[in-house]
Amino acid sequence: MTEPIIEASAHHLVDDDVVIAGGRLPRFLRHWLVARLGWSIVTLLGVSILVFLVLRVVPGNQIDAAFGTEAGTLTPAQHAALAHYYGIDRSLWSQYFSWIGSVLTGNLGLALNTHLSVASMTGSALPVTVELAVLATIFGTVTGVALGLLASSRPNGVRDTVGQSIGLLALSVPGFVLGTAIVTIVAAKFNYFPNGGEYRAPWQNLSENAQQMLFPALVLGIAVAAPVMRTTRSAMIEIASRDFVRTAYGKGLSPARVLLRHELGNASIPIVTMVGIQFGYLLGGAVIVEQIFALPGIGRQVYQAIEDREYAVVQSTVLVIAAAFVLVNLLTDLVYRRIDPRVREQ
């Protein structure tokens, strides 16, 4: 039997939702999933307004970005024609509602310089980022949990010191340093740089895809492993001192069963929280790692679009990323419900 632990952070979101959804609301709206979805829509709407406004506050516009300093050679008539083409001669209200209206009808917009649809660009970039995020998360979780178990098995002992030192090192070394070091050393010593080739999806060439994903997944995975390791360690140390663990040993259960089923089972709630957060961030695109390893992911798409002031591309892509983040949060909540019986009861 799995014993509960008190981890407010693990289920406070669900509690909040119940409170918010309670009271005068109709019964069906009181269902946690409906409330959750409602708040997700509000969140996405907020994101859409925020990203729209931030882009307009940033100096420069599409004409300056497309022509660079040569924009100064355009006559007023040319400038006006281009402003009309890019749609920046309209009021902010008109621009926002025109864009959000298109998005609601399933049209994410068009990159005006390249004439490519944002949907097709995102369709090819998102799988790259998702694959990278999944691989990095798997690597980071397995490594992080393993190191966390190792460290917690003897608190303040040698293993703990070693485990914590590794965690601290992984947290301290920035991805761009590790990534650049790997690229430079491996290419210089072994003439090996799989990412110099054209990107291959797993269904095109699994072996090449695996080679192209290895180093970036490793770099990002190390960044994921560090917080997971620290979370695992602290959760395991706390749980090891609980009564139910002593009881389990007292009942004569094997150490492995106590560790896996009772200790790790209960520690999994904060670990899942941490992994969920990390995965969500990775879905936003690891811009620097994607730059170094030339992976055509969503991070690079947004970065390039910001450089080019391609408003529709930035806005719609960020909205897609936000939707993915919201979805991951929702899935994390579902996982809580699966692993924490108290949440189910609420």
């Binding site: 040319q78 210089a188 080739g197 994903m213």
Partner: protein, 512 residues
């Protein structure tokens, strides 16, 4: 007992993690190598438009320059030579320019090329609705006539000799009249150049194939593929791993990493110049002596050394090969701090106390911040403080265009003809004069003379005078021209880099 179990568990978990990693590696023998006659070129950014008349980014200009042709073109020494026109003649006091077009030229889609395509292309540039950047260089065209399929006549409002060099620029590319009508060029470029468009995967690769009907003869390469590798260090890594055969590099530090393994670097002096632009309409830069003090305090060689590892040349205003300025013909050819201090005193600032808000661009080229810091350190002794504002490219361009700066560390593009290079900056009606911050009746007269003169020696004398005026007035601080680096594998042969960064000699390049 418990510890042993835990240790085993941890060991199993770590092994699983490593197994997952090694499964990712798969077979290392699957690494791709260069294919037959396709040259793979790595560069840090992608094409941002397929419209040749609106392309300003180097990547777009380089790529579309292989697809499209122009009436005239440049040879490796930047001399104007025949392109789609085999001959041309200025008549009527340089106010009429007649082109005889090449026969039997076809667009890559198979349609025949004629004078109608030239007229449609030039009219598209002149139409304000297009937003073509080269309109300013062609604004003297009053009308275009096409007496027959092989002849095009440009009727000019004023004598305009430099228009010929302007017509060698990709921004005056000749497009098919039918494509202009249909707008198909925005997704499928179609020109008369040595390579034809094949496919484009944004942020990844741009593929070209040999144009089998190219008027200049058989193109040796079966194709060219541009690959986007955003980091220059990674470009070098891809070159070492033989994933690409040519890498385009701008950072001299990275270029030094290319050595051994049959790789070499072709450095090419660029027409672009690194300068400290001064807004001479902002006090106290409106005082000549303050500007001259800055000229004398700056050690250009030192800036070149610290920012670009000494790889480049100290330059004067004009970098066009035929009209190049003498870098020693300036108030202080070598730095002279005592003289600079005397100028500060004469300007009424014996103790300095001047702060200049200076914009610096990051991200666009590697040396900007180092240049700014070097200049900042050199101006400190005469009491001028550079307040450096490092900005992303979009913000920098926006502030630059609005002339919202006292000084700007800039890398400005050079031109084959000094007229197209500086008329826009330093004539009172130039469309970048607000940014340049300086004009004078003397310069207006000299530039007008340059436009109306066809004799090269006479033009040379005029532009030498212009150069001298710009320097003696301390208008900007022209510092140096740097190198562009073409890192290539030994298989790449017959490639000639060009000062205007064109890759047109890929039309004769072979892969050994």
């Amino acid at each position: 007992m418990r510890r042993t179990r835990i240790r085993r568990l941890v060991l199993v978990a770590l092994c699983l993690s490593l197994l997952a990693s090694s499964a990712l590696v798969g077979s290392s023998s699957a690494r791709t190598t260069a294919t037959g006659g396709t040259l793979v070129i790595g560069r840090t950014a992608d094409v941002n438009t397929l419209d040749p008349q609106k392309a300003t980014a180097f990547q777009a200009v380089q790529t579309l320059g292989l697809i499209y042709g122009t009436l005239v073109q440049l040879d490796s020494k930047l001399n104007v030579v025949p392109g789609l026109a085999t001959a041309w003649k200025f008549t009527d006091n340089s106010q009429t320019l007649t082109f005889t077009l090449r026969s039997r030229v076809k667009f890559q889609t198979g349609a025949a090329f004629s004078s109608a395509d030239v007229a449609a292309s030039l009219n598209r540039i002149l139409n304000p609705a297009t937003g073509a950047v080269s309109r300013a260089n062609l604004s003297d065209i009053q009308s275009i006539s096409t007496p027959n399929a092989r002849t095009v006549v440009l009727h000019l409002a004023d004598p305009d000799v430099p228009i010929l060099a302007a017509l060698a620029d990709l921004n005056t590319a000749i497009m098919s009249a039918a494509d202009i009508q249909s707008g198909s060029f925005t997704t499928h470029p179609n020109g008369t150049g040595p390579f034809a468009f094949s496919s484009w995967t944004p942020n990844q690769s741009f593929k070209l194939v040999r144009n089998k009907t190219y008027w200049g003869g058989k193109v040796p390469l079966a194709g060219v593929q541009f690959r986007v590798i955003p980091d220059e260090t990674s470009v070098v890594s891809a070159l070492k791993a033989n994933q690409i055969q040519m890498g385009l590099i701008s950072d001299p530090v990275v270029a030094r990493q290319v050595k051994g393994g049959g790789l070499k670097v072709l450095p090419q002096a660029s027409l672009s110049y690194h300068t400290l632009m001064l807004n001479d309409r902002h006090a106290p830069l409106d005082k000549l002596y303050v500007r001259l003090a800055i000229q004398c305090a700056i050690n250009r060689k030192q800036v070149l050394g610290s920012a670009a590892l000494g790889e480049g040349q100290v330059t004067g205003p004009i970098t066009s090969p035929a009209y190049r300025s003498d870098p020693n013909a300036r108030p202080c050819p070598t730095p002279n701090l005592a003289k600079a201090k005397r100028f500060m005193k004469a300007a009424g600032y014996p103790n300095g106390g001047i702060t200049l808000h200076t914009i610096v661009e990051t991200g666009e080229y590697a040396t900007a911040v180092a240049e700014a810091q070097s200049v900042q350190a050199q101006l400190a002794p005469i009491g001028i403080n550079l307040d450096l504002q490092t900005l992303d490219s979009g913000t920098y361009v926006s502030r630059w265009l609005a002339a919202d700066f006292d000084a700007a560390i800039a890398l400005n593009g050079g031109r084959v003809d000094p007229d197209t290079m500086y008329t826009r900056y330093f004539t009172s009606t130039g469309n970048l004069n607000k940014v340049a911050g300086y004009s004078s009746p003397k310069l207006d007269t000299l530039f007008a003379q340059g436009r109306a003169t066809s004799s090269v020696p006479k033009r040379k004398a005029i532009y030498t005078q212009i150069s001298k005026t710009l320097e003696s007035q301390g208008v900007w601080v022209w510092m140096f021209t740097a190198f562009d680096y073409y890192a290539i594998s030994s298989k790449v042969q017959n490639f000639i880099p060009m000062a205007n960064e064109s890759l047109q000699y890929l039309r004769q390049t072979t892969l050994g």
